[in-house]
């Protein structure tokens, strides 16, 4: 798991949280909706550009019961999937910075 890059949620998307803790991630430009489970919502709300995926995973383990052993792989894949869809980005370091 990448311990340096801090994913940032696309601010143009709208998160509609629902009563049963599920949510829809709505893109007003395309009109498409993307369903999120309660755990996915938990992760999404931490994609703030300041939190690493490893820190998100640690939060997950602290917050939820019965987190499976393959959670790291699932969290990584989930964030990567969001990035592929353009829902998440990463800050580009300035020249000279690492």
């Amino acid at each position: 798991m990448n311990s340096i890059r801090k994913p940032i949620a696309n601010p143009d998307l709208v998160l509609r949280e629902e009563f049963d803790d599920w949510a829809v991630l709505f893109d007003p430009d395309s009109g498409s909706g993307y369903g999120l489970s309660p755990v996915s919502v938990f992760i999404w709300n931490r994609l703030d550009g300041r939190t690493t995926p490893a820190e998100i995973l640690a939060d997950l383990r602290a917050h939820f019961d019965d987190v499976p052993d393959n959670a790291e792989a699932e969290v990584t894949e989930f964030i990567d999937d969001l990035a592929r869809r353009g829902f998440v980005g990463y800050e580009v370091p300035l020249s000279g910075q690492r």
């Binding site: 143009d12 049963d20 599920w22 709505f26 489970s37 959670a71 989930f78």
Partner: protein, 381 residues
């Protein structure tokens, strides 16, 4: 622990925290007086349009509530001088929009603005004929030409545009010509249909506009045939085409002995209160445009989320789905009970004064007893 995104629209979802979409009746004014208008003389016909500032302030609340889309309606929304400002306000607050219009006031500039937002789902223009004589007879002299010009301007700017045909006694014999005109000559991707409903001016002009049983039968047959001819490019949520498809499914289920339809046997016909709300031109929140008498609150005074979650009238409307049809005298002994949902509460209210009973207009048994016939089964394939 499930990370994978679930299918949008998971049926296990219950009531939402806020509505997903709103119908905004931004003006009570209209430049036309169509003979079957559902607005004028209805409870929604209030002579008080809100200011630009009130609407823009409300859009900010809609953003906080994560509302996804709004539909501008009226009256005639293009009568508002500030419609462009309202549209931009919706876009700025991260929503999408659609517009229902008579099309007569659309300019090149407004069509271009609508297109430029990239947030328009649809503009629906009312067109009731393939020639001016038919259209203008119900909508006013000169309205056909102007509506068509408006529609063509939308298409020029690549705004997703469609037409809505309201089927009434004056155009029911011209459905073939209308379909050909819109789909072949104008080359719309599709259009939708409805029939004149018992609201507003339509009630006063019922004899002139509302279809007889024979005309309803004729319209069903024509629309089913035309929809097949044009590969499904004609749609309907209500009116003769929707009735033909729904009632045919009910008839087929009864003949084959199928147990019941999902939601059948109870007043489940309206899902609106589960995801949508409306606002009258004076800022009063209502369940929908045809239940304008049911006042739930006022925008910018009462919180949208609080009204949505807590108003007793909305809760009662949602609980309508628990009412069994067997409790109604008019439904006793009906063979179609397991498949029937009672349809629209607003039509039920308009016809009987009670929104908590089935709509008489949507009763298939009543239609049959009055001599109505469904299209032949072969035409439905």
């Amino acid at each position: 622990m499930k990370l994978n995104a679930v299918q949008y629209g998971d049926p296990s979802m219950r009531i939402m925290k806020t509505p997903r979409s709103l119908d905004l009746f931004v003006t009570g004014r209209c430049n036309l007086r169509c003979t079957y208008c559902s607005h004028f003389t209805s409870p929604g016909d209030v002579d008080q349009d809100l200011s630009t500032e009130e609407w823009l302030r409300f859009f900010e609340e809609l953003k906080r509530c994560a509302v996804m889309k709004v539909c501008f309606q009226g009256g005639e929304p293009f009568l508002r001088d500030d419609l462009a400002e309202l549209i931009l306000g919706v876009a700025r607050n991260r929503m999408r929009f659609s517009i229902l219009t008579n099309g007569t006031l659309i300019t090149d500039e407004t069509a271009a603005l609508v297109a430029s937002t990239g947030r328009c789902d649809l503009v629906q223009v009312s067109i009731d004929g393939s020639i001016s004589t038919t259209h203008d007879a119900a909508r006013g002299k000169g309205s056909f030409r102007k509506a068509l010009d408006g529609l063509l301007l939308l298409m020029k700017h690549r705004v997703p545009a469609t037409a809505r045909i309201t089927i009434h006694r004056g155009n029911v014999l011209e459905l073939e010509q209308i379909a050909s005109f819109l789909l072949e000559e104008i080359r719309l991707p599709g259009f939708s249909t409805n029939s004149a409903t018992p609201f507003g001016l339509c009630r006063r002009n019922a004899e002139q506009v509302q279809l007889t049983v024979a005309e309803r039968t004729l319209a069903m047959e024509a629309l089913v045939r035309l929809n097949s001819k044009y590969d499904g490019r004609i749609s309907a949520q209500a009116g003769p085409l929707a009735e033909a498809l729904n009632w045919s499914a009910m008839e087929e289920a009864r003949r084959s002995g199928e147990g019941s339809f999902s939601g059948g046997g109870r007043l489940t016909g309206c899902g609106g209160p589960m995801s949508e709300l409306a606002v009258r031109c004076d800022g009063v929140m209502i369940p929908c445009g045809h239940l304008s008498h049911m006042e739930l609150g006022v925008i910018n005074r009462d919180g949208l989320a609080e009204v949505w979650q807590g108003h007793p009238d909305l809760k009662r409307l949602r609980n309508r789905s628990s009412i069994a049809l067997t409790g109604f005298e008019s439904c006793r002994g009906c063979d179609y009970l397991p498949y029937c949902t009672g349809n629209c509460p607003a039509v039920a209210y308009a016809m009987t004064g009670d929104a908590w009973r089935p709509s008489p207009d949507a009763c298939y048994r009543r239609f049959k007893e009055a001599g109505g016939r469904l299209p032949s089964s072969s035409s439905l394939e």
